[in-house]
Symmetry: C2
Subunit: 381 residues, 2 copies
């Protein structure tokens, strides 16, 4: 199968190289921006690709919703399979594209859009056919995991950890989407769509690591706990609970062994029990290998990751509850149902009684809007 | 698709129940032994199944090479898909069955035969199409992992850990295949066949946990190390190195977070980098969920796990080498290239310089034949 590629950045180049090396697949034309054409295999308009009757599938690795959506729709309408690594595209226009794909009989797969090289969506899409998924969660952002690991194993403060991640190319110049948890939130939304047929378009609560200090790290490490940024999605009475927040784990948890910029994803099936996947969450070849996995799936007959009745919903995080570790001003502790006071002073650290995820996130947002600083993390188990 | 089931034990019952619950799949006739027929859906001969034109696939969960092989061959010759959880069958007659399947166009899949519920073979079979697998390894035997975890977290001795595993149904009355590593060896042979197209039929070196004492556990735990029984297969100049042995890991390794009777498998792809999978390695529904994953794969068009040119080979463990932790008689230590002496006395504990896997295993077998006791484990990293 000849495969065209839209975009020739880090991932696009990796996909091209892997297509060259894979029996049964071959690289077709590569779409680059006007004025960027340097190689004979590069083209500057989608039409040139769709005019090539040999092209059987199109891979999109440009990022952004437009023009990616228009290209995707035209590709699917032409009857070609469409594979993307673009989480924003799938989160915002995925349901439309899935409908286009069903209409034309073409495949629409996006395994690389959640977890990079980790085959979460592929395995989830297969599992839902015969199992009932009860939860999906994971470390879905490699940038923040790299920073957390650096802060926890090398005593770095937040700013140095971020600068190091930027120097290594793990964090972008504007790291907002990573450090606030937005990137992980988009990914867990896609996992919910595949696992439950429910795509949360709003209502996700999202706490990143941007309020974490080196003193917080020293404190919870002294208690034998390790912090990871966890995205989680579970069914909640016709909709889903979907949220991102720091979580503190005891030493035995597999999450603690996820180092550097690795990702981990897990799901719990009614029949399969808990399943855990770890691997590279980003990078040229790990991400490209996920794109190629989708292409192999297409060759084996796979056509969809989203269930045909997949619907957009508002997330509801009121029914999920955890005990939280919270660092806040001593005068504010009475706001929360404190179970244990861990440390005293002007700033206190407490463990709350179990409270709803939404309540915790709303409280933190309200406090910060009022200019008061706090850090919180769910306590696992 | 109507699916017949050969065998109605723990797994067979689980497969039957999952078939009832899965849209697009339905349970067909179930083969039980003569005199065991109790339900109208049960039959006592394969012919009754093959005479039913509605049956599209047959699942075999009886175990043993015969009559499973004859049933498999007849099933494939009738054009029906064949799915098995039977590692002995695939290890001994898998290449013949794959050839029968290719000839008839039917599928021959065996995901549940390695790793139970852990989707190692499924993901490997997909990965090999576009990636080059550089190693496969894992904790592939839940019984011994349960025992190791009990000995290491609860200070149990070997005999009590074994009795507890038997009481819980994790170990059989005759636990030989589990505790000697034979069960894990059969599974890694299947993983090599899928990953490299090379099925090691002989030459596997196999060291279990049956020489491990509570004092060994106390000693390596005092050094911050955790023991796991690891099966490993890597390409080795036209053949494979394939072996099972205890391995000692530092606390940060994901292997340390594999508790109770869980399994873990990993592979390293040239493009994907390291990939890790964890889940339940055995049990009714985890294993049945793996069988159902294969059936979903068939519905999506998958036909084979073994590459068409898969060949039987003799394993060669001479090129792989590790440093080993060895407990042996003080008078024997001069036999090994000792790098560090850990403890002295009548019995000594040493870390060797790197030596070949085959050399270490041969030495241990020779010593034991001469009536001398020793324990060894590779040291990771």
């Amino acid at each position: 199968m000849k495969v065209a590629v839209l975009g020739f950045g880090t991932i696009g180049f990796g996909v091209y190289r892997m297509l060259e090396a894979s029996p049964g697949l071959e690289p077709g034309p590569v779409l680059v921006r006007e004025g960027k054409k340097k190689e004979p295999f590069q083209v500057t308009s989608l039409q040139e690709i769709l005019d090539d009757p040999g092209v059987g599938a199109v891979v999109e690795v440009m990022g952004g919703v437009e023009p990616a959506f228009t290209y995707a729709r035209e590709t699917l309408r032409s009857g070609r399979h469409f594979v993307t690594a673009n989480k924003a595209l799938v989160a915002v226009r995925g349901l439309e594209l899935a409908a286009e794909a069903r209409q034309s009989g073409a495949a629409f797969l996006f395994g690389a859009a959640c977890g990079g090289g980790v085959p979460l969506l592929h395995n989830l899409a297969l599992a839902v056919k015969t199992d009932e998924i009860r939860s999906v969660s994971g470390i879905l952002n490699g940038t923040t995991n790299y920073m957390l690991h650096a802060m926890q194993t090398r005593g770095m403060n937040y700013d140095s950890a971020l600068r190091e991640a930027q120097t290594l190319g793990y964090a972008e110049a504007d790291p907002t989407a990573d450090v606030t948890g937005m990137d992980a939130a988009r990914k867990i939304a896609l996992a919910c769509a595949v696992a439950y047929g429910l795509l949360p378009e709003g209502g996700l609560d999202c706490e990143g690591i941007d309020h974490l200090s080196a003193r917080d790290v020293a404190d919870f490490q002294s208690r034998g706990l390790t912090c990871r940024l966890i995205a989680r999605g579970v069914p909640a009475g016709g909709t889903v609970a979907a949220y991102v927040e720091p979580v503190l784990f005891g030493a035995a948890a597999p999450e603690c062994s996820v180092t550097d910029n690795y990702n981990m994803a897990r799901y719990e099936g009614r029949f399969s029990g808990p399943m855990v996947f770890m691997g590279q969450g980003a990078g040229r070849y790990p991400t490209a290998s996920s794109v190629l996995r989708d292409l192999s799936g297409i060759q084996a007959g796979q056509r969809a990751m989203l269930p045909p009745d997949c619907a957009a919903v508002q997330a509801d995080n009121d029914r999920e509850s955890h005990a939280y570790y919270v660092r806040l001003g001593a005068d504010r502790a009475a706001d929360l149902p404190v179970d244990r006071l861990l440390s005293q002073g002007e700033t206190v650290r407490v463990i709350t009684k179990p409270i709803s995820v939404h309540q915790m996130h709303v409280y933190a947002r309200k406090e910060r809007r009022a200019g008061r600083e706090l850090f919180f993390a769910a306590v696992e188990g």
